[in-house]
Symmetry: D2
Subunit: 292 residues, 4 copies
C-alpha cells in the first residue's frame, strides 16, 4: 500500500519503520524533518507537509497531543483538504474523545474515512512490532486498515463502530495504570515507614497477587526510587489524566480516583518533575508521609 | 507435630484440613462447634476452648477480626494463659497492626513465641493448599513454623523480624486489590456511558496490560454486574480499609486513595450491600454516574 | 451615559433596570426579546442584536456561560466588530478565566477597552442594587465604569489590572461557597444519623461560629431538605466547579476539595437534580450515608 | 457550689478562674500542679488527685484527649470511684463520641450523673467568659449545670438528652472550621499563582460573602502566612479530624471532605508543623501548587 505517516516521535518512528519493513510504500512527515533521515535510507519518501502524506490516500497520524493533530489536519497544508475523497485517516495519537468526535464529523463531511486506532505499548514495543492496537470505525474502514495493523502490532482489538470508543478506552487504560502507580506509591510509603524493606515488599506483591508485567515494572521503579530516565514522562501522564477527566465530565461520570491522581501529576509537574517517569508521583506520596 | 487450630471459618477449615492431611495431630476449636465435625472424622480432636488448643504447645489462630482474636487470646479460657512457656502462637487472621504489636509484647512477657502469618488467597485456595503465607517473626520462631506453612500454602514469604510487618503487608495487599476494583468500577461506568460494551472493554483490558488473574476475576464480575454470591464480602472489605487507614494514621502516612475506597465501602454497606462481593463498590460508581 | 446591556436573565434584568433608574440611556438585547418588554416601558431601547448595543460605545454583557458570551462577542452581529474604537466592554458574566484572557487580547487588538466585572449576589440583590462588583482592568478603564458600578451595586472591589483576575476571584468565591455547602451536607448527614435534630444542629452552628448570612441560608435549606425552588441551580454549580478546576489546572494548582465538590455536582445533575438548588448536593451526602 | 475542676490547660485555667470569680468554691487539679498556683491565691483549693476534686460532688473535666480523661476517670485515684452517688461529672474536653458513650454507661452504673458540655471558643474566650457551651444530658442533670455554664460562657445550647450528641456536634464544628481553612488554603494558592495579591483577595472575600469572624481570622493568617504562634495547634487539628472520622465510621457516614483534610493534617504534622497553627495546612496547599 501507499501510506503516509505523520509524526515520527518515539512511538511513530518505530511504527513507520515496521510499515516499511512490511513492504509498504511509506511517505513520512515530521515537524523536525531530520527524524526521517534514517527512514529515507530504508526507502521512505520524506514529505514537506502532512498534506503530501495525505495525498497517498491513506494517512496515519501519531502526534503528541490535540494541538499537534489539529494543526496537521485542519491547518495549512493539512490532511483534511489534501486527502482524496474515499481516502482514509487512521489516528493513533492519544487525543481527546472530543477531538476524535470532531474528526469523525469532518472526514464524513469530506467523504473520507476515519478510524481511531490508539495503541498500547512503550517505544520498545513500537519498535519490536509488539503494540496492541485498539481500533474503532465502520467494519468496511477497519478491514482496509488490517494490513497496516498487522504491520505495526501483535494484536488488534475492535472497540466498536464509533471511532471515539477507541479513544475512550485508551485514556481509561492509562487512567487504570496511573491508579496502580499511585496506589503503589501510597503503599510503599506506608511499608517504608513501617520498617519493611521495599524490595521485600515488592517481592511479596509480585509473587502473590500483582503478577502483571506492569506491576513488576512500576513496582520496581518505585522500590528503587529510580524515576529517570522516563519511559513515559509525568507531563504526559498529566495530559492523559486531563483527557480522561474531560471525557468523564462530558459523559457525567464522577471519577474520584482520577481526580486524586490528576492532582498528584499536577503537583509533580509543578515541582519540576515533568520530564521524569510518570511513576514519580510515588515520590510525592512518600514526601507527604514525611519521608526523606 | 501437635497443633491447635482456633477458628474454622471459610479459610480456617481448609487450612486445618490440610494440616491433618499432612500428618499433624490437630486439635480444633470453633465458636460454633459443629464446624469441626467433619474434621473430627478425619482424625482431629475437638477442643472445648482456645485454651485446650493452646496446651498442645503450638496454636494457630484464624479468626474474623480483632475482637474475636482478643477474646480467644486474652479472654476466659484463652490462649495466653494456657500456652506453655516456650509455646508458639501463629496468628493468620487479618487483624490490625496495633493488635499484632500488642500480641508480640504479651507473648514475649509470657516467655512464649509469636509469629504473624497472614495468608493471601480465597477459600478455594485454602482448601487446595494454594495459599501464599506472609510470615514475620524471629528467625528461630519462623523455622519452627515452616512445616506448618508447607502444609497449608504453596509458598512462604518472610516479611521481616517484627511480626507486625506481615500484618501491614496483608492490609496493604488488600488495599491494592480494592483500589483496582474501585478504579475498574469507575472505568466501566465511563465505558458504559460512552456506549462501549462492557465485555468488549474487559477483553481489551485483560488482553493488553491488565493480565493478572485478579484483573480477570474482578473485571469479569463488574462487567457482568454479578456481585452475588460473595467471594469476599463487602463488609470485610470495609474492615480491611479501616485496618489500613489505622495503620497509616499511626505511621503518619496519608493514603488519599484508601480514603476514597473506604468511603465507598462505607456507603455500600450502609445501603445494604454488606454481604455482597466487595467488588459491589463498582455498582456505586455506576449509580453515581446516573446509570440504571 | 449611553449604555448597551446584553443578557436579561435573572441577574441581568435587575441590573439593567437599575441602570435605567439611575438615569442612563439603556439599549437592551436578549435572545428571547420579550424579556425586555417591561424595560421598554421604563424607557429602554430594545435592540435587534448585540451589535446594536455595542454601537452605544459602552456595552455590558451578563450571559449564562462561555458559549453565550462568545456568540455575542465574536458571532454574527457581534460586539467586537460593532464596538467603536475607544469603546468599552464590561463583562459581568461568570465565565472562564481563559475566555476573559482571550477577550482582553481581542479588544486590545481592536483598540477597545475591556473590563471584567463579575458580581456577587443573588437575583434579589441584583434587583435591589445590593450586588458586590469585583472589577479588574486598567485604572483608566475602571474609572469610566464607576458610574455604572454605582448604579448596580452596593460596593465595588478592584481586583487588579488584569481583567482575568476578577474572573478568577469570582469562580474561587463560588468554589468556597460550594465547599461550605458540601461540608454542611456531610455534617448534617452525620448529625442526623447520630440522632441530633437538624434544626437544633443548625441553631448551634449559626449561633456560635458560622454566623455569615450564607451559613444561615444554606444551613436552613439543608436542615429542612427544601431544595426547590432553586436560588442558584445545581447545573450552574457544576458549571462553576468546571471553571475553577480549569483555571486551577492551567495554573498548576491542585484543588482536592474542588474535585470532590465537582464530582458531587456531576452526580447530582446526572441523577436529575440539575434544576434544584445547588445545595441539593447535601442530599447526595445523606444518601451515601444510607439516609432515607 | 462546691466544684472540682480537673485540667488547667489553656482553656481550663480560664474556666476555673471564672468559676472562682462567680463565687463558687473550687478545688482544682492539674497533672503539673504549678498551673494551679495563681488560682490558689484567688481562693481555690489545690487537690492532689482527680479523686479529691470528685469528692466535692460536682466535677468538671477539661483535658487534652481521650487518654488523659480515661486516666482521670478510670485510673488510680480517679473520678469514678470517688464521686459520691448522685454526684455529677461535667465533661468539657473534646473527646471521642465513643468515650462519651462509655462514660455515660459507667456513671449510670455508679448511680452518678454525666453531662457532656464541650465548649466553642479559644483560650481568650475562655478567659473572658465568652465561651459557647454545647451541653447534652438529661433535663434534670442539665438544670444542675446551669449556674456553672453561666459562670464560664456567654450562651448555652442544649443539644439533646444523650450526652454523646454534644461531643458529635463539637467534632463536627471543628471539622467545618477545618474545611473552611483547607478551602481557603486552596483558593489562596490559586489566587497567588494567578497574580492576585493575597490581601486584596482577603478583602474581597470578607467584604462580600465570607463575613464571619473566623473567615477574617483564618483568612488573615493565610494571607500573611503567619502560622506562628498557634492559636490552635495543627496536632490538635489532626486529633479532631480523627475524632470526626471515627464518629462517622461508627455511624456509617462517608465524609469525603474530612478525609482530605485529615490527610492534610497528617502530612503537616509529619513534616514538622505540629505545633504551628492548624491553618498551616494552607501552606501545604501552596507547596503542592509549586509555590515558594
Amino acid at each position: 500500500m501507499n501510506i503516509g505517516f505523520v509524526g515520527l516521535g518515539k512511538m511513530g518512528h518505530g511504527m513507520a519503520q515496521n510499515l516499511i519493513s512490511a513492504g509498504h510504500a511509506v511517505t513520512v512527515w515530521n515537524r523536525t524533518a531530520s527524524r526521517g533521515n534514517d527512514l529515507q535510507k530504508l526507502g521512505a519518501q520524506v514529505a514537506a507537509s502532512p498534506a503530501e502524506c495525505a495525498r497517498t490516500g491513506t494517512v496515519i497520524t501519531m502526534l503528541a497531543d490535540d494541538a499537534a493533530l489539529e494543526s496537521a489536519v485542519f491547518g495549512e497544508n493539512g490532511i483534511l483538504k489534501a486527502l482524496p475523497a474515499g481516502g482514509l485517516h487512521i489516528s493513533s495519537s492519544t487525543i481527546s474523545v472530543a477531538l476524535s468526535t470532531r474528526l469523525t464529523a469532518a472526514h464524513v463531511a469530506a467523504h473520507q474515512s476515519y478510524v481511531a486506532a490508539p495503541v498500547f505499548g512503550r517505544p520498545e514495543a513500537a519498535a519490536a512490532k509488539k503494540l496492541f492496537v485498539v481500533a474503532a470505525g465502520t467494519a468496511a474502514d477497519l478491514s482496509r486498515c488490517q494490513p497496516i495493523f498487522d504491520a505495526i502490532g501483535q494484536r488488534t482489538f475492535i472497540a466498536g463502530a464509533e471511532p471515539h470508543s477507541a479513544n475512550t478506552i485508551k485514556v481509561l487504560g492509562n487512567f487504570l495504570i496511573a491508579t496502580t502507580i499511585e496506589s503503589f506509591g501510597e503503599a510503599f510509603a506506608l511499608a517504608r515507614k513501617s520498617g519493611i524493606a521495599p524490595e521485600k515488599f515488592l517481592e511479596i506483591l509480585t509473587g502473590t497477587t500483582f503478577t502483571a508485567p506492569f506491576h513488576q515494572n512500576y513496582g520496581g521503579i518505585i522500590s528503587r526510587e529510580a524515576y529517570e530516565p522516563a519511559g513515559f514522562a509525568a507531563k504526559l501522564g498529566l495530559k492523559d489524566m486531563r483527557l480522561v477527566l474531560q471525557a468523564a465530565d462530558a459523559e457525567g461520570v464522577p471519577l474520584p480516583i482520577a481526580s486524586v491522581v490528576h492532582d498528584r501529576f499536577l503537583s509533580a509537574v509543578g515541582r519540576g518533575n515533568g520530564e521524569k517517569d510518570w511513576s514519580v508521583i510515588a515520590k510525592l506520596a512518600a514526601e507527604d508521609a514525611g519521608l526523606k
